[in-house]
Symmetry: C2
Subunit: 546 residues, 2 copies
């Protein structure tokens, strides 16, 4: 007998599950419920439609109700909200057009997503504000932008959606202020990497307020955003992008297990605590691929994959989902920031020991036009060099390097393995030693003890009496700025001027990016000095302290 | 006591070995001999200097003699040819300025590279022609191009250097003819992938002659290139880029083991048959990472890595080189072609069983501007799905996908592992299912038997009586061209028109890229048909037969 499968939610996880299910089972009865008017739309493209980068609204609709019905023979019911799950009877309650009915199931797949978090700010009930999740949201923002031509915008929240919205509003020549309560934007990155993107926002005319949160809102002609610090911002449009919360109401009310972070609990087969009910996407808790701990990682790739896996398992194929590593990426004007695995903040929180390295490498060979430096931060285990996480910021080729490292992480590789990777090299694409190889070399050198390092955040804390700070850049570079208390001996003169370096102090050596510092390190170390190289060089110190 | 290390060859392998050696050993005496005038130049950039993409000649010199001396305290002797190795005495003979002397060694590193192959064509001794390997070569070509302003060029050889030279001469508005003796250009790619690049050459005004070789040369005012076919080409400049041969003379003459393909034989520590002599780079034979067989893979990444490893081993660190997989890439105007691992031709030759899949995916999300399709060919083991090789052609993002797969190959991953990779997705960079995931899904479906396929090269050979050829594209697509004898039923009508499909024939279904064909396959298969999907769709069939 053919199965009857109901799906709640018709976008990333839900639509993917429906399509896969049909491919595997031509006979299944598949009904897909979607509260909104549209299915299969490109959530991730919404900010770019606001900014006019995506010009045609129809392009956001990856699949239409009609198209999906015709192709996959799926009973699609939009404007239909599932309001209750009756696990006993294996039925759901659906409300459409104000009327309610019941529909039975053999299997139920929940992919209800997550809802923008709206905090109970004083005055918020009397203020016009926007969140961005679906077509309805984007239509409202677009209409407001087109009709009212706002001159000033306040975006609250410096995560992916907030930053993308800030950029896109700025593309419309709006005077944008981005407000973030934490000390940095872009939580998936560590602070020194986020700093590079923050500077990019500033350089592109966006005002940035960190360490400050919205205290209250008022609206008359204009919107007044009062911050905890006392600062007041006037605005013509207000966007809240403070993060999302898993849509767990349905699941909770019918007694499915919910995790500590509010996501629906599932096993590795995407099964909830009720074996007839599967859940996928932003609504669930996943295993962090690095730590194995339960967490929320609301991303489209995982949602799509989980949807496919739920369909597989319902069709009798035992397929496992092996956790989410949180590989993610953002364009910030002409820069790119990306990360995979755990960041330093997360490792610290979990008490996982780690080492780190910074490298700056050209996106491709320096002698071929258009190469632009990228910064790579690698986090790895002090025991065996296993890669725990990576972050990169730069112009082109950042996505490539993060994807290569994401692939390495997925297989549990070490920094030694990165040295060996044989990546495609021709001058327009890379260097004979790819930035990933270079990160591997540098991390391995730290791990093996071939280079002892000091990090950017330790510089201002070291005892300056104990250290001789040696700047091995050229005279010219030194003149443009240096670390206080440092002495300049250009690397290429170092062997001749060793007598100027005191034997009774630790040597902290640095250059622009860390490479010359490392060569100086090797010279000094072999001459009997106790040396430390500033990992990532003056560049990372500078960008972290812009 | 400090070691004395001599290095023969001062570019990729040699200079890398020297630098690494110094970092590891401040006391070693290191002498680097280079026959030419320059060390550490960018071989790979040479064609782009001819074409004016790289404007400044100095940029080609990654390191100078002076710079390298100062930084690494290396005794660099240019215009110094090592002419003999006396293994007994552990000495080499060097000729410089016509004078010869001897230099002793504890260790010797050979990185003499490879020499352009110049076949004994009739009349070649009386004809001006150019090969491209070093600064001297490029200076000559550049001078000729600048001074004589050639209107017509013939480039012989359709490998990397030939194609890059053809492109760069074309950039100078020269009328270029590329002659290749084989049936395709770009040997690392299989023919149907190379075809896409061939078309690109044609579309950019380069004349392409395949399956034809140079028979004889004549030069008076102009150069006349006569081909075996009888065709005659007139030209103002002639470039030979027929491949390279390892520089094995020194090694051979002193009795070091030489492999069947003419490369110096080394073990995994880069040691030759004489434990005091190491060899690296284009001059050696490496283990093919896939087959384990000895082969020649003259590429800069491997040369640099091998140089580093030789230095490590000489310094007493036991480091292994684990073989070369041949990851390589080429820009052909605004297209990119890349490959890693073995191609189909190599697998056939080695008698290694394989399956293959083709996918076409957008470089990034279709709804975000600028997405361009790329074709990925995956070769994998029919037993366990282990990836044996991959090729990709497209515009942007080809390098990324090949690097991800190269990383996967390096770890012995299977096509199933590709399904799981969690790669960075935001609309400007990728899709929620990255092209690599998509290639993984498709290959896995073939491997699991979820989709039986027929390949583009079988189409014209199948018995058309046995098959019902079903085109599931739209009417409009069908009208623009189709496979002979096919019937058009658009996918979205298929379920309603099943009765039009004969039950007594095999069904060969196809669409544009293979995806709709696969969905049709799943419908038909579950309705009891014996179905085959054209992998890669009509697109690959068309591009292979342009
Ligand atoms: C502006 C924006 C930009 C983003 N950019 C990126 C990016 O660049 N990269 C990335 O990886 N991810 C990005 N994401 C996240 C990504 O879109 C989500 O991870 C993904 O869509 C989650 O899929 P899902 O199926 O869990 O939820 P959704 O795609 O949100 O789908 C859930 C659907 O379920 C419906 N629903 C909920 N409850 C019910 C109910 N009771 N009855 C009926 N229907 C219901 C909702 O209306 C909704 O349409 C972005 C998200 C947004 C909002
Ligand atoms: C035009 C061109 C484009 C290329 N493009 C790419 C590319 O895009 N990607 C890629 O990966 N690879 C590319 N390569 C290949 C790459 O340059 C080589 O693989 C790499 O340089 C090999 O390094 P090597 O040290 O073995 O040899 P080389 O770099 O050639 O160095 C060998 C040196 O040894 C010297 N020498 C030889 N014999 C003696 C002797 N007896 N005494 C003293 N000196 C001697 C030679 O003069 C030469 O300078 C390209 C090569 C060329 C020529
Ligand atoms: C549109 C949508 C329903 C499509 O779902 P889908 O059919 O599973 O996905 P795709 O169109 O990517 O096709 C993938 C299938 O085609 C197959 N395929 C892809 N290319 C192929 C080719 N060249 N030949 C054969 N098969 C191919 C894959 O193997 C896969 O099939 P499988 O899962 O059965 O193995 C779903 O992706 C969606 O709703 N997307 C929009 C919402 C969204 O994701 N939002 C968040 C991101 S903005
Ligand atoms: C110029 C040349 C001599 C440099 O050799 P090199 O010093 O070994 O290589 P690089 O300059 O890339 O530096 C790599 C070293 O810096 C270290 N490094 C790189 N970035 C670093 C950073 N940010 N912090 C600390 N160390 C860093 C690496 O660990 C590596 O050192 P190791 O090998 O001891 O581990 C050599 O690359 C060369 O001759 N190149 C041109 C010729 C050529 O390759 N041609 C073919 C391609 S066109």
């Amino acid at each position: 007998m053919s199965k009857k499968v109901l799906i709640v939610g018709g976008v990333a996880g839900g639509a993917s599950a429906a399509a896969r299910l049909r491919r595997l089972d031509e006979d299944a009865e598949i009904i897909l419920f979607e509260r909104g008017e549209y299915i299969s739309f490109a959530n991730c493209g919404l900010p770019y439609y606001v900014g006019g980068v995506i010009t045609d609204r129809d392009n956001l609709l990856v699949q239409t109700v009609e198209g999906m019905k015709n192709r996959f023979n799926i009973d699609i019911r939009v404007k239909s909200e599932v309001t209750k799950i009756d696990r006993e009877k294996k039925e759901v309650e659906v409300i459409t057009d104000g009327k309610s009915y019941r529909e039975s199931y053999d299997y139920l797949i929940l992919s209800p997503g997550a809802a923008p978090f709206v905090p109970p700010i004083k005055g918020i009930d009397k203020t016009t504000f926007y969140t961005l999740r679906n077509m309805e949201d984007v239509d409202k923002i677009k209409a407001r932008v087109v009709e009212n031509k706002p001159k000033r915008a306040v975006v609250v929240g410096g995560g992916y959606v907030g930053v993308e919205m800030a950029e896109n509003l700025r593309e419309l020549d709006i005077d944008v202020t981005l407000v973030e309560a934490a000390e940095q934007i872009m939580g998936p990155l560590d602070i020194e990497m986020a700093r590079i993107l923050e500077k990019q926002l500033l350089d592109n005319g966006i005002k940035l307020i960190l360490n400050d949160a919205v205290d209250s809102l008022e609206e008359e002609q204009k919107i007044v955003v009062s911050l905890k610090s006392g600062k007041k911002l006037e605005s013509d449009i207000l966007i809240l992008a403070i993060g999302v919360r898993p849509e767990n109401k349905l699941a909770k009310e019918c007694g499915l297990a919910i995790g500590e972070r509010g996501g629906i609990k599932v096993n590795e087969y995407m099964e909830t605590s009720d074996p007839s009910i599967y859940a996928v996407g932003d609504a669930i808790e996943v295993k962090d691929f690095i730590t194995g701990m339960d967490t929320l990682i609301p991303l489209a790739g995982p949602a799509n994959k989980q949807g496919r896996i739920a369909a597989d398992n319902i069709s009798g194929r035992k397929v496992k989902y092996n956790g989410t590593q949180g590989t993610s990426i953002i364009k910030v004007f002409d820069l790119t920031g990306a990360s995979t695995g755990n960041n330093e903040k997360m490792l610290k929180k979990s008490g996982i020991p780690y080492l780190k390295s910074y490298t700056h490498s050209g996106s491709h060979a320096g002698y071929y036009p258009g190469a632009f430096p990228m910064t790579i931060k690698l986090l790895f285990s002090p025991e065996d060099g296993k890669i725990l996480g990576a972050q990169a910021v730069g112009r082109d080729g950042v996505d490539k390097r993060i994807d290569v490292i994401a692939t390495a992480i997925r297989q549990g590789l070490t920094v030694y393995d990165l040295e060996e990777l044989e990546l495609a090299y021709a001058p327009p694409y890379s260097s004979a030693k790819d930035p990933v190889n270079m990160a591997g070399y540098t991390a391995s050198n730290i791990l093996k003890g071939d280079m002892k390092v000091i990090h950017w955040d330790e510089i201002d804390r070291i005892n300056k009496q104990e250290y001789f700070i040696l700047d091995v850049r050229t005279d010219l570079e030194y003149e443009t700025g240096y670390i206080e208390g440092s002495t300049n001996i250009p690397l290429d003169k170092l062997r001749d001027r060793l007598n100027e370096i005191p034997k009774n102090k630790k040597i902290l050596v640095y250059c622009k990016i860390g490479l010359r510092g490392y060569i100086a390190y090797r010279i000094l170390f072999q001459n009997g000095y106790d040396v430390y190289n500033l990992s990532g060089g003056y560049d990372i110190y500078l960008s972290a302290n812009y």
